[in-house]
Amino acid sequence: MTSLPISQDAASLPATSRDLFALTKPRVISLVVFTGLCGLLAAPVYVHPVLGFTAILCIALGAGAAGALNMWYEADLDAKMKRTASRPLPAGRMDRQTALHFGVGLSFFSVILMDLAANHLAAAILAVSILFYVLVYTVWLKRRTAQNIVIGGAAGAFPPLIGWAAATGHVSTLPMLLFAIIFLWTPPHFWALSLFVRTDYANAGVPMLPVVAGVESTRRHILVYTLPMIAAAVAPWVLGLAGWIYGAVAVGLSAAFLILALFVAGNRATEPKQMAPEKRLFTFSIVYLFGLFAAVVVDKWVLA
């Protein structure tokens, strides 16, 4: 990690609330909140609305805290990539200490509030998820190995587990499968993105798979990793933990995902402009995850 050439005047000004909000990666939070909410709603118990709301709020705050600490640590990387250069730290609109204090403060706040509103287990998993994202993914893996998002993907997979634990006080097979779905979904999702922004990653020195192993190898990896992801996606239905509504959605969406992954595997383009299959897969992968998790809840509510 290196220090940044930040404009002295801009960095000495107090950060605006808009920049503090941007530190939390609001777009990432939307997916985290949604999967956490689905984990909570899929649990087979009644959850008081106020306690449920507070648990989801804590998941959102914890994710925001992890995002802020990620931006604090990666400010030098963000400055080198087009996609992230306008973030508050690389753009010089905030000093790094503010980001660090904001991230650490929000982390403690979210975990303590979760403990008060829900239970020790949910608070502990929330704390582990923040630490995993910051220490294991951001600090340890991201700059060292092309497997960064394979292992680091676990960080984004915790929310349904936290939601379920907040509702029930324990963890069982279904939330573990929801965790597995996100964990196995993360590599194809991020590799599809990294294929068409690989120049950015290469310039920043991030060893993403397309940078280290090449475009063709990454496409094969996407296809290979899609298979266990599909197995995890249909597992709740096969194991009888979800009904036919979830089963139909999981099979349909997974078939579409596999077809798009095959198109990616068959693409020979090396220029981002010709990577329409990769862009399609990336966009669809977000729909895929939203669809699967929505189906878990609809299935439980309709068939219960």
């Binding site: 005047d9 000004l13 609330s17």
Partner: protein, 43 residues
């Protein structure tokens, strides 16, 4: 820090102070609601 930045610093401090006040009020309401909810659930 240049003197011409002084008004902008004050403006940003006021803005953050207002937002912090709102958040503290919301936090107090949330803690109250959580307490009532936990009492209800425990009954």
């Amino acid at each position: 820090m240049s003197p011409e930045l002084e008004p902008e610093i004050r403006r940003r401090q006021r803005e953050r102070a207002k937002i912090m006040a709102i958040l503290l009020i919301l936090f107090a309401i949330l803690i109250f609601a959580v307490t009532i909810a936990k009492m209800t659930v425990n009954q």
